[in-house]
């Protein structure tokens, strides 16, 4: 009995969860690569996912061993992890009580053993004659050989793979049916999903992938490769009717039956089939689930269509393989129904068995273990058969994956200790004493890249306070700037905005706006027609032969003089832009809904709620400074298909500047202030809010609506702008220490030049490192972390537990910050763990396809995840989230947030509580008896001290430990010349 449509739909839906969650690349949002496995514990999920995707669950053992050697992992970490891992079995005795399991594993980890084949051992023995002679070593070796020859080498029974392709490949390594199917399937899928690269789109796309392909390929034109000669016959007669999915389900059922897959195996077979081309399958799923995020045209993609088409091609390829392998079906009538069933059975029967290690190899392994654990020849000879077997099994069970798992946990443990020790020490030292009304309060995104900017700002201008909050500043909106052709959502992925805000030119600069529009339009038209025209036959012939040489100017300029070129072009664009004064249409005008179903602008009550919410979140309810700056962020770079991965995650892969600007306007609005005052939140009359945007690639900040600042605040702003410029230079200097192509002794001014050149350089594949070192998320008051060097590795979320009686603020903060920060950290983690499967591999052969993603070269799977160049310096550790709250408060809030709780209990993030009153830390530990917080005992009570951040990082490329930066804790402003160093 075959599953019905609903059951099939169910299977496809659960398979879909295993596909990469990445959407079209122009709005890249870092998410957990293994989202579909979140209901499993982290390390188990890693191993399961690795098996499904053919990935590496951890980094290679050599990496961890190198880290052990240089002290990044310490023996004490391995001990602690082993103790925790073995639970109640640490003392388990092996070899008749001569060794304990824990010691055996520890030895294997620290010293490592070589696994050699029988042949290699024999060769070594005969060629080198190392074990000749009659010394003790030789005796031990003979004892090991005797021991291992007491049992026969095992035959490991493996379950044959489920997919025909793997079965065939195991028999004949030259016959890969996926290599036949994929180029054709990729071509079809890419043509179907294309968002405007091809000038001639695929016909009939509205009918779905299966019907569109059937329409094209059911005719008999031209030769087809021999393996898919039967394609037109199979596709003939498939066309879309009323219920599009039904046709696909029919095809899936028929093909699976023809392939001889028993119905009980379908739930397993379908995910395997989809995952074989997971990038493209995942993109089909994204189009099906989020048509609103399609860059241009939301084609009606369905995963069932893709699966049906794939199975049709798979079956043809398998039939071809059967012909190649000279398979002739048995002459029974049953086989006529599913001729491949018998083939499949035969393939399974012929699947080669795997032999265990031979006796010499085992003897060699035993010899190494005996030497490392101090077993003598007599000990070995004294083992009875059971003891020997148990010892050998224990060694075998602690295989590469098991060892790497322990190594990885130890690697993360050491990182955690470094951070928690620093925090504990910081808490025990005197905090900065409050120094009256701050000069400026600056609100940034929580982004780890803002950490260094904030720190430098605080160091250079100690009378400034900074805050961190999700970079859409509580203003979810569709936004259309004067340069945008349509409104784009600026808010986290999970939020659907209810309001649209438009930027409009101010009436006095309408003329310059029109002029600028006209110039831009004609330049755009020229560039566009050069680009498209040069590809066509007639126009292209004329253009390339007559006008092509004009391209020599941009070619030489861009390649040979990238900085000057981007300065000139960027400067010209900026000048033109600066001539146009604009304003945001923020206030609600009329109640009519816009075509996209949203309100135009916000009314005063909504604005007051937004302002109140943000100020509550960051704990800024009293003692406002004269100037409150709200600064979003974005990133500009050339030649970077992954550009949007470096924009603001809280803005859904967009730039947070407009949100900052909107927030400042709202907070300055007299109506809003009056409403807030009525609710008890009084913002002094002399407090002015100002919006800005920080470019994380060029380290520059641009400001909005400066001309609307009251004259009284001009001076405050001018000083603050200079502060930000200085902080930008120091920030650039700190970023530059990471780039291998920049000398370590670069000055802030030179560093600024370098980072600005990188942003505009066509040849630069590392414009910035993005979140590439992210590891920590601290939710709490800035006073507690101020003056702490966090190495651009921490998300800093402002949260004040003292004003959060009912924990509502913590709840909404964690609900937003938990998934976002863990998504970013896990995306980087997996892209680094296996850059080829989870990451996008090296950027160099990347080829933009359909404006939705990148392929390697001309026909590969869509590469999801982050490119190697973006994660090469990343330390793959899970996010360590430290919350400035009591353990009870955190427990209570987790109870209310099931998604975050799953992440925590399944260890996708590490969690620690930082007691608001005592400053003591407690780590969240999962245990079979029930998860609990365990008080944390610091290893090192001393925190290194440096005068300034630059003193601490100068001369170092790698990750740096936490340090106390004295200048960040001063109240007095340092002498300017010192800061400008």
């Amino acid at each position: 009995m075959h599953p019905d449509d609903d059951q099939l739909a169910q299977m496809i839906a659960s398979a879909a969860r295993l596909l990469p969650p990445q959407g079209p690349i122009d709005a890249f949002v870092a998410q957990n690569t293994l989202q579909g496995f979140e209901d499993l514990p982290f390390d188990e999920a890693l191993v399961r996912a690795a098996r499904l995707h053919g990935a590496q669950p951890f980094l290679p053992e050599s990496f961890y061993r190198g880290e052990l050697e240089r002290g990044r992992i310490q023996a004490s970490d391995l001990d602690a992890v082993l103790t925790a891992d073995l639970g109640d079995r640490p003392g388990l005795a092996l070899a008749g009580g001569r060794i304990r399991l824990r010691d055996l594993q520890r030895t294997l980890l620290i010293h490592g053993v070589r696994h050699e084949s029988d042949a290699a051992v024999r060769w070594t023995l005969t060629e080198n004659a190392v074990l000749d002679g009659d010394d003790a070593g030789s005796d031990l070796w003979h004892a090991c050989v005797e021991a291992s020859s007491r049992s026969r080498p095992s035959v490991v029974h493996v379950r044959p793979p489920l997919r025909h392709r793997d079965l065939i490949l195991a028999l004949d390594p030259t016959l890969d049916t996926d290599a036949l199917v994929h180029p054709l399937l990729i071509r079809m899928t890419a043509a179907y999903l294309d968002q405007g690269v091809a000038s001639w789109p695929m016909p009939d796309r509205q009918q779905g992938l299966l019907a569109a392909v059937a329409g094209l390929y059911s005719g008999r034109i031209g030769p087809l490769p021999p393996w898919c000669a039967g394609l037109p016959d199979r596709l003939h007669g498939i066309h879309s009717h009323g219920e599009p999915d039904r046709e696909a389900y029919e095809v899936i059922r028929a093909e699976l039956a023809a392939l001889g897959v028993p119905a009980t195996s379908w739930p397993e077979f379908i995910p395997l089939t989809l995952v074989a081309l997971r990038g493209w399958a995942g993109m089909i799923r994204q189009f099906a689930e989020r048509p609103d995020r399609a860059p241009v045209e939301a084609v009606p993609a369905r995963l069932a269509d893709f699966l049906a088409l794939r199975l049709v091609l798979d079956r043809l390829a398998v039939e071809y393989a059967a012909r190649c392998l000279n398979f002739r079906g048995p002459p029974t009538s049953d086989a006529a129904a599913a001729p491949l069933a018998a083939f499949c059975t035969e393939l399974r029967d012929r699947h080669p068995p795997r032999r265990g290690a031979g006796s010499l190899a085992r003897a060699f392994l035993l010899l190494q273990v005996a030497r490392l654990t101090g077993l003598s020849a007599a000990d070995i000879r004294a083992l009875d058969d059971n003891e020997l077997l148990e010892l050998e099994l224990s060694i075998a069970a602690f295989d590469s994956i098991a060892r790497r798992r322990i190594f990885h946990l130890a690697y993360e443990r050491r990182h955690g200790i470094g951070v928690l020790d620093g925090l504990a020490a910081q808490a025990s030292l005197p905090a900065r004493s409050p120094g009256g009304r701050p000069r400026v309060q600056a609100v940034f995104c929580i982004d780890d890249r803002c950490e260094s900017f904030r720190r430098h700002l605080e160091e250079f201008a100690p009378d400034i306070d900074t805050f961190g909050t999700a970079g859409f500043f509580a203003v979810p909106m569709y936004y259309r700037g004067i340069d945008d052709w349509h409104a784009i959502p600026l808010c986290p992925l999970v939020v659907r905005p209810q309001h649209t805000v438009t930027e409009a030119p101010a009436s006095e600069s309408l003329a310059s706006h029109r002029l600028r529009q006209a110039v831009r339009r004609s330049l755009g038209w020229f560039r566009g027609s050069m680009a498209t025209g040069s590809r066509t036959l007639f126009r292209g012939g004329l253009l390339t032969s007559i006008g092509g040489a004009v391209a020599a100017v941009p070619l030489v300029a861009r390649v040979a003089f990238p900085r000057i070129t981007s300065l000139v072009t960027g400067g010209a664009a900026e000048y033109a832009r600066s001539r146009v004064r604009t304003s945001l249409d923020l206030r609600r005008q009329g109640d009519a809904l816009l075509p996209n179903g949203t309100q135009r602008g916000f009314d005063a009550a909504e604005m007051a709620a937004i302002v109140r919410r943000l100020l509550e979140d960051i704990g800024l309810m009293t003692s406002f400074a004269r100037l409150v700056a709200v600064i979003g962020h974005g990133s500009t770079s050339l030649n970077n298909p992954h550009e949007s991965a470096y924009d603001c995650g809280a803005c859904g892969g967009g730039r947070g500047g407009p949100n900052a600007r909107a927030f400042a306007l709202m907070a300055n609005d007299p109506d809003v202030r009056a409403r807030l005052a009525a609710e008890g939140l009084v913002i002094p009359a002399d407090t002015v809010f100002l919006g800005g945007m920080q470019d994380t690639c060029t380290s520059r900040v641009t400001w909005y609506d400066v001309d609307r600042l009251p004259g009284s605040h001009r001076g405050d702003f001018d000083t603050f702008r200079v502060d930000c410029e200085t902080a930008g230079g120091l920030d650039a200097q700190e970023r530059c220490r990471r780039f291998y192509s920049v000398p370590l002794d670069v000055s802030p001014a030179e560093a600024l030049r370098r980072v600005q050149e990188r942003a505009g350089d066509l040849a630069q594949v590392r414009p910035e490192y993005g979140h590439a070192s992210t590891a920590v998320c601290i939710v709490g008051r800035r006073e507690r972390t101020r003056g702490l060097f966090l190495d651009r590795r921490a998300f800093l979320v402002s949260y004040d537990p003292t004003t959060d009686g009912d924990l509502a603020i913590l709840e909404r903060t964690l609900a937003a910050v938990g998934p976002v920060s863990s998504g970013i950290s896990l995306c980087y983690l997996f892209s680094r763990l296996d850059p080829l499967v989870y990451g996008a591999g090296t950027k160099l052969p990347h080829n933009i396809t359909g404006l939705i993603g990148v392929m390697d070269g001309h026909a590969s799977d869509l590469r999801t995840g982050l490119p190697l160049q973006g994660v090469e310096i990343h330390e793959p550790v899970r996010l360590l989230m430290v919350i400035d709250a009591t353990t009870e408060a955190i427990r209570a809030v987790l109870e209310r947030l099931p998604t975050v709780r799953t992440l925590v209990t399944n260890r996708w993030v590490r969690l620690a509580a930082w007691d608001p009153a005592t400053g003591s830390l407690a780590t969240y530990e999962p245990a079979p008896a029930g998860d609990r917080f365990v008080p944390y005992a610091p290893e090192q009570a001393v925190l290194p001290v440096a005068a300034s951040s630059a003193d601490w990082f100068r001369g170092h490329r790698g990750h740096l430990p936490l340090a106390r930066i004295e200048r960040g804790l001063q109240i007095e402003r340092p002498v300017a010349s010192e800061g400008h160093r």
Binding site: L193, S199, Q764, H858
Partner: protein
């Protein structure tokens, strides 16, 4: 101009021309030898050396151009040596500096310099860094050798350098199956078409007793006159056209080009956007006198060029990835250029080559910015630029349009046709030969000779 001045000028040009070759060749040795000894140079040193090599070559070419201009661009033959000579037959190593070769060296060396500047940053920290620059200088040396060649033998040597460096750069990421397959595909096509040039060399040697172009045609380019009889001219011309088809990716040997975009972006730009794709056109321009003497070959060239241009324009319009699209765009123009040469034009195709190469290499270098550029364009135009890419093909009637679309998506059935009409028969032939051999061995008393099946021709790639 006195005899003495002419002699001095000759010496100067000879030295400069040698420099144009020696500079990249010396760089090749300077970065290749340490790598061979297992101690590759630092990244910065490598790019600086390569940059210096191309700069020297470029300056030498500029100076040569000045010296030549002083003499009205009459050809200057530089004799580097003789491989061997038997009676009146000789294989000499000759270079020629004239109004075609020297400007072309300026252009190609300049592009190589730009690509070097680009790749130094682009390949930073890439494991194959040194390998890339070795191949780039090998290519630069081969290109100059081919361009400056004064005999068909030297031309062939340069041509082969091009082929091997192109192959190895397509397969640059040799851990990936697709890349190696594409490299092999290109290599086989190259080797097949190289036979044309090789046989042409033999024919020329046979006809005039030497490979020197001086004996094949005489006069100032582009008005040289062919010196051999029309039959020989026709044979040589046809062979040269055949040779050009492979490197310039003309129908029916074009299938390798879109697949060749497997290497790093800068090598794709200089090979398939700029220089390698036009090598065929250059050879034909070099030997234009022979083409003039063989109008049939010219008409064949026009037919193939136009056919390729049409094929590539239609196939290119359905490509959904940027590099394939640019590959077909290059192919279209390469076809038009060959057709122009076939029509007897000389300056027009030369300008077209240079102009097209510059534009296309910029486009390929910029291709990873496509999303950025597109957003800017949409902002400037006030809407997605899709509507601007209007294609006449959209207007075709439904049924016919669908057929043509399918043909285009299948890349003109080129792969399947090659599979069916070339690979299969060749494999069948080989298998037959093997079977015959096995039978013979058995007949002769050989024991257990077991035939192995090789029927693996299903792969579409």
């Amino acid at each position: 101009m006195t005899e003495a001045t002419i002699a001095v000028l000759h010496d100067v040009v000879a030295t400069l021309v040698t420099w144009q070759l020696a500079a990249p060749a010396a760089t090749l040795a300077a970065i290749g030898l340490p790598a061979l000894l297992g101690r590759p140079l630092a990244e910065r040193t490598t790019t600086r050396l390569v940059g210096a090599g191309f700069t020297a070559g470029f300056l030498a070419a500029l100076l040569t151009l000045a010296a030549l201009a002083a003499r009205g661009f009459s050809a200057e033959v530089v004799h580097l040596g003789t491989l061997f000579s038997v009676g009146h037959h000789a294989a000499t190593i000759e270079l020629v500096a004239d109004g075609l070769s020297v400007p072309y060296v300026c252009f190609s060396t300049g592009l190589c310099w730009l690509v070097n500047a680009f790749a130094g940053k682009y390949l930073h920290r890439e494991p194959g860094f040194t390998r890339f620059f070795i191949l780039l200088t090998l290519f630069g040396t081969g290109m100059n050798l081919m361009v400056l060649a004064g005999s068909i033998d030297v031309l062939f040597a340069g041509w082969e350098f091009l082929g091997i460096s192109s192959t190895l750069l397509i397969g640059f990421f040799h851990e990936r199956r697709n890349a190696v397959g594409a490299a092999l595909r290109a290599f086989i096509t190259y080797r097949l078409c190289d036979m044309g040039l090789l046989i042409a060399g033999v024919v020329v040697h046979h006809a005039v007793g030497s490979g020197d172009f001086e004996r094949l045609f005489r006069g100032t380019w582009p008005d040289a006159v062919c010196l051999v009889d029309p039959t020989t001219a026709l044979i040589v011309a046809l062979l040269l056209v055949f040779a050009a088809l492979g490197k310039s990716a003309q129908v029916p040997f074009s299938g390798w080009l879109p697949q060749a975009m497997e290497g790093p972006t800068p090598s794709s730009a200089i090979f398939y956007g700029a220089l390698s794709i036009h090598a065929g056109a250059y050879v034909l321009l070099r030997c234009e006198a022979v083409l003039d003497a063989a109008p049939v070959a010219g008409w064949l060239l026009v037919a193939i060029g136009i056919g390729t241009a049409l094929h590539a324009a239609v196939v290119g319009s359905v490509q959904t990835d940027l590099k394939s699209m640019l590959a077909y765009a290059s192919m279209t123009q390469a076809g038009i250029i060959l057709a122009e040469i076939g029509l007897g034009l000389r300056i027009v195709p030369l300008v077209h080559v240079v102009s097209h190469a510059i534009l296309r290499s910029l486009q390929i270098l910029r291709s990873p910015s496509a999303l950025h550029d597109r957003h800017e364009l949409a902002a400037a135009l006030g809407g997605p630029p899709g509507a601007a890419t209007f294609s006449i093909l959209r207007l075709l009637p439904d049924r016919f349009g669908r057929c043509l679309y399918r043909i285009a998506l299948e890349r003109g059935f080129e792969d399947a046709a090659v599979q069916r009409f070339v690979i299969r028969p060749v494999l069948a032939l080989l298998e037959g030969a093997q079977a015959a051999e096995t039978r013979l061995v058995e007949l002769a008393g050989g024991a257990d000779a077991e035939p192995r099946r090789t029927d693996r021709d299903g792969g579409a790639t």
